[in-house]
Amino acid sequence: QTGSDTGGAKSGETAGTPGKKMKVGVSIPAADHGWTAGIKYWAEQATKQNPDIEWVIQDAKEPNEQINGLENMKTQGVDALVILCTESAPITPIAEKLHDAGILIINVDRGFTKPVADVFIEGDNKAFGRKSAEFMVKKLGGKGKIAILEGIPSTVNTDRVSAAMAVFKANPGIQVVAQDSGMWNREKAEKVMQNMLVQNPQIDAVWASDDDMALGVETALKAAGRDKSIWILGGAGMKDIVKRVMDKDPMFPSDITYPPSMIGFGIQTAASMLRAGKDNTKKYTPRHVMIDVDLITPENAKDFYFPDSIY
């Protein structure tokens, strides 16, 4: 019986009623590499800016842990949830149930496999792969030897890599001489690159698909004294890399944005929708917002440079 009572008091329907402090859950993947750490950082920033709401931030190493966290948040009586999936499909069913239970669902970056989110703020990993690859092909003038560093085997990685490979395949001049996983980890990337370097006398560029790995690659190049002849394309807009692009560092001619700050936008959206009463705001809030991935160039770099961010 207790269940339904307290439930009534906090249920989604009565959300927005003045005086009653609202509760929002933020569910994100655990910070096991730079980008996810950035997610956490921006989540904290954004929640701090909305003190009128009670925030619950929960990270998860794997889907089951995330599902459990979401279930717990429901019993905590949250009015809305901002979810960045560890994996899309596994989280979809629970998200659907929570949505049915009247909780406002904001889905960030990795989309559910069913349209169960009230607002979906999508990051486009395929575009990430495609655009970065296209830039690399262009910069190499359609021909050259490249090395590829993949991330932790996962949907995100698969989307990025396969999209990029498609582009490279379409350009016969481009020759992939080495490909291995750097686990989105600087240290691992450095080791892998070290091996690639001794195994390949000729490499023109490295497609690193993530800025953590890009830095690892750089370390390896420097150590092997080949930092002059090889340039790197990372990804996700880590502040250090953006700075290097801004400073016209030949090693980092460009970078691809995949801003972890998108979680902040999701959080802000949830906050403002709840304040105005979600059922009203739903009418004019777009259900699907696509966050474009941009090519960072020395010209536009300053717009993407946040020195005080941890990422």
Partner: protein, 332 residues
């Protein structure tokens, strides 16, 4: 020199009760919602089922680090199977049933492989299953080529979130609160395993092999067979667990599902008072261990503990839980 007192016997239970009380105090009504208590039992049902099997393996003097990866492998297989069966015009329920059997079979097979290499190959269980940890995950990734495998059978998810309605209780949405099948399976498996361990000949052999293989051998027990059997059993349970996970997620992320299950399962077993030296242990303790782990996560969410600090809290609570049981010399 032995000192077996109530604490060393029921310390884990005490820890659970304490944590429960703490939660009641800090969360109040929220925590006592039937729905929340239901979640306590069901949330780690999969890990629970695995932990029960792990208990037998550990009592027999072994260990298995491959269960997490095997969950992903069996899970991937079960989803592929259920899709295949369904697309071949089989009734959804039939397809689910058969795919479940398939997953369990694959798990058992993997367990047998582990067991054979360990007992006949005479290789330390830790390494063999460490190989499995890497290998099984890899096969799963290949099956799902690095990504997730989605079920085309919607009713699979209905099973995942289906169960028996708890009488007189409604959830926030006003719907019935279901006691999930996963929880029921977990409880059933635990009871069964407890029975096997304490009431059957096989259970007795498991203890003997773990406690003193030589004595067991001199007593005409075929220790090899017993060893293989426990790993096979665990493998089968992992297969079962993978079905529970897959149903709940209506899919399997081959790179992510089952990560760290091995650590959670082993932690639950040891928290429950089963000695890693083998030769003694209790199933109910493992169940308590699983519930304890679930309770910790629940508490962390409820009390807005900063994600950075969560690991510390988790670590300390686990430590305290086992420290309460200190005094059992054999842990030395």
């Amino acid at each position: 020199m032995k000192r077996t007192n109530i604490l060393s016997e029921y310390g884990a239970l005490l820890a659970l009760v304490l944590l429960f009380i703490i939660n009641v105090v800090t969360q109040g009504a929220n925590f006592l919602q039937v729905e929340n208590l239901r979640n306590m039992v069901s949330q780690n049902a999969a890990v629970g089922v695995i932990a029960v099997g792990m208990t037998l393996v550990i009592i027999a003097g072994g260990i298995d680090l491959s269960v997490g990866s095997l969950t992903a492998l069996c899970g991937a297989a079960s989803i592929l199977l259920v899709n295949k069966f369904a697309s071949s015009g089989m009734s959804p329920n039939m397809a689910i049933l058969l795919s479940a059997i398939g997953a369990i079979a694959i798990g058992t097979l993997a367990g047998v492989i582990n067991g054979v290499i360990i007992s006949y190959g005479r290789v330390a269980a830790f390494v063999v299953t460490l190989g499995g940890l890497a290998g099984f995950r890899s096969i799963a990734l290949v099956l799902g080529n690095g990504g997730e495998i989605r079920s085309q059978v919607p009713s699979l998810q209905d099973f995942g979130f289906g169960g028996l309605a708890i009488p007189f209780v409604k959830d926030r949405g006003g719907g019935p609160v279901l006691f999930y099948w996963s929880a029921i399976v977990f409880i059933a498996i635990a009871l069964l395993a407890g029975f096997v361990l304490n009431r059957t000949r096989f259970g007795r052999y498991v203890i003997a092999v773990g406690a003193n293989p030589k004595a067991a051998e001199y007593s005409a027990i075929n220790i090899q067979t017993v060893r293989v059997a426990v790993y096979a059993l665990l493998g089968g349970l992992v297969g079962l667990a993978s079905v529970l996970v897959g149903a709940k997620m209506n899919s399997v992320g081959t790179g992510s599902v089952g990560l760290y299950y091995e650590l959670d399962a082993i932690a639950a077993v040891v928290i429950g008072g089963t000695s890693l030296r083998g030769g003694k242990g209790r199933i109910w303790g493992t169940v308590v261990g699983v519930l304890l782990l679930t309770l910790i996560s629940n508490m962390i969410t409820a009390n807005h503990i900063d994600t950075n600090w969560q690991g510390l809290v988790r670590g300390i609570v686990i430590l305290v839980a086992v420290l309460i049981q200190r005094g059992r010399k054999e842990n030395e």
